[in-house]
């Protein structure tokens, strides 16, 4: 079995790249290959144009933040942070001390230099791990689900801080996560992985809006995917048959990549849907009739679950808009045609 297979990736210097995927998709293995903990059976790895496949981890000049922090429990915070300096540089004790203080300031832990890791909270330990990874100014920083063990509020704070640190330092960061929100908000580039292969690469917004596959569409955010049998198409229009036999014609740019008889999925994001009472929405195109099943209040938005031809369909609305649809009943949905995407059904 291959843990990663045919993964080709070029990372621009200074960029923030996230490897995103479900567990077992090969993202941590990819990170371990870059770190040098695993030697690839084939292929090569280049950093700044130089092959590092034969170079052991300790000579690669990489900083790394581990999910379980991996701080040295017998060393103080400042000894932990100073470790890479002691191993990699010939700095004097005072120079080292300056760099440690600087790194601790960057992660906002200046006052805790003499504590031991066990005396710190999870968030503080994560900051120490971060300071240790970046103290020797490595060209490349690897982060393996660094925020996975923290609770939500803290995770969001640290996401911001990591972004800030990234823009201050300018070093390249490769960040592994299974949290799609984290990947979307933090990265310059997104690498979606699945079954040991790269599924799609691109800037977060592009990947979110133009997923190549059903997997990517449903892994990022919430996706309404209407299965569609392609019946006919013209230059900018495609006609398909929905599961319930209803025919629908959609304006699309990608009509040429389908041929009649293909199975496709129409992707409509919950935030792109407009909901109207059944009688008023007639004639809107593209539009479909659906049955309201449930509404859920999320604070800043509400989620409406519809039954569309037997399948679940989610709509995101402003809480104020929900009032006119109380209870169940028939509703009419429409969406902005340029935001909907037609993607091939899952292989």
């Amino acid at each position: 079995m291959k843990a990663v297979d045919d993964v080709s990736l070029r990372v621009a210097p200074g960029s923030f790249v996230s490897l995103l995927g479900p567990s077992g998709s090969g993202k941590t293995t990819t990170l371990n290959l870059i770190a040098g903990f695993i030697t690839p059976t084939s292929g090569d790895l280049l950093i700044d144009g130089v092959s590092v496949s034969a170079i052991p981890p300790h000579k690669r000049n990489i900083g790394m933040v581990f999910q379980a922090y991996a701080l040295f429990p017998h060393m103080t915070v400042s000894q932990n942070v100073g470790y890479p300096l002691k191993m990699r540089t010939k700095l004097s004790a005072t120079e080292r001390q300056d760099r440690i203080v600087e790194a601790l300031k960057l992660v906002r832990l200046a006052g805790l230099a003499d504590r031991f890791p066990a005396q710190l909270s999870g968030g503080q330990q994560q900051r120490v791990a971060m300071a240790r990874a970046l103290v020797s100014s490595p060209r490349l920083l690897l982060m393996d689900e660094p925020l996975g063990a923290l609770d939500k509020g803290l995770r969001e704070d640290l996401q911001l801080e990591i972004k800030e640190i990234h823009s201050k330092l300018g070093s390249t960061i490769i960040y592994v996560t299974h949290d799609q929100t984290e990947a979307l908000t933090m990265s310059d580039f997104l690498v979606v992985m699945r079954n040991a292969k790269i599924e799609q690469i691109g800037p977060p917004q592009a990947v979110y809006e133009n997923p190549d596959s059903v997997f990517v569409a449903s892994f990022l955010g919430t996706a309404n995917l209407l299965p569609l049998g392609v019946v006919g198409m013209s230059a900018d229009r495609l006609t398909g048959r929905l599961a319930n036999g209803e025919m629908i014609t959609i304006p699309t740019q990608s009509a040429s990549s389908f041929s009649s008889g293909d199975a496709a999925c129409l992707l409509i994001r919950p935030e792109d849907v407009k909901l109207s009472p059944c009688n008023s929405g007639k004639g809107l195109s593209p539009g479909l009739r659906a049955k309201l099943v449930d509404t859920m209040f999320h604070g800043d938005h509400s989620r409406v679950t519809l039954d569309l031809a037997g399948a679940k369909f989610t709509v995101q609305l402003h809480p104020a808009q929900i009032a006119e649809f109380n209870g169940s009943g028939d509703v009419f949905i429409s969406w902005s045609a340029e935001r909907a995407r037609l993607i091939p059904a899952d292989r």
Binding site: F37, P57, H58, R60, M64, A68, P73, H74, M87, A118
Partner: protein
Amino acid sequence: MTVQEIDQRIRSRLVIKYNPRSFIVFLLLFPACAWMAFFYITPIAMLVYNSLAEDGLSILSKTVANPVYRSVFATTLEIGAASTLGCLLLGYPVAYALTVSRGALRGILLIIVGLPYWLDYVVRSFSWMVLLGQRGLINNFLLYIGVIDKPIQIMYTFLSVCIGMVQILLPIMILTLFAAMLRIDRRLMTAAAIHGAPPWKAFRTVFFPLSLPGVYAASLLVFISSLGFYITSALLGSPKESMISQSITLLAATLLKWSDASALSLVLLAITMAIVIVYDRVFSIDDLWGGKDA
């Protein structure tokens, strides 16, 4: 807070509530505790009584003052310390190898480590005589290659006693160290590597310091065990290498001086306990790192 509330608080602290879980714990502990109480605590109490019954505490001071016993105690501690050091030097690398090994290899190594226990240690001690004696394997070999021209004395020396004891105590050292080393998070070595430490430096700066609490614990266990050795020193040593247990046996079984034997046992017990207490004070440093599993 009203008087009733305070009263309630005090009551809730004083009354030990019936807890089915603690009852089960009690049930589980009871057989072993009863057994130990009867067969361990009782005889020791009788021992203390025996030694003090005739002349009171004076027998203890007489025992401590006796130069023969003093020198036997000194020899016992010396042999114990030397054997412990030997075990540590030989055992640490083996325990480390066990820690880094995986699967079947680890299983095989563990069987090899435990193998000596399949043979009684009296038999093993006798087998050392074949190896170390005047006409033993080592002397014959050294004579054959011409390093020596007449047999050297290995048997019945401090060295032969230590060799035998190290051989017997080594598995305890290895297994105790192994258990301690298993608790060290291997990912720390990975972290050391990626942050610039070559393997040897990663070991020296991370693994070794973290293994020290295990080293202290294993050494203490081996040292304490060594103090009670009897057969090995009797078979492999000269009277000069007499250990304290031999003296106790001699007093009790041959000379029938029961109160002297009891007093000597008591002194051994006191010394052992003192060592444990002092040792714990000096080396109990894992609290500093936030407990054993930090």
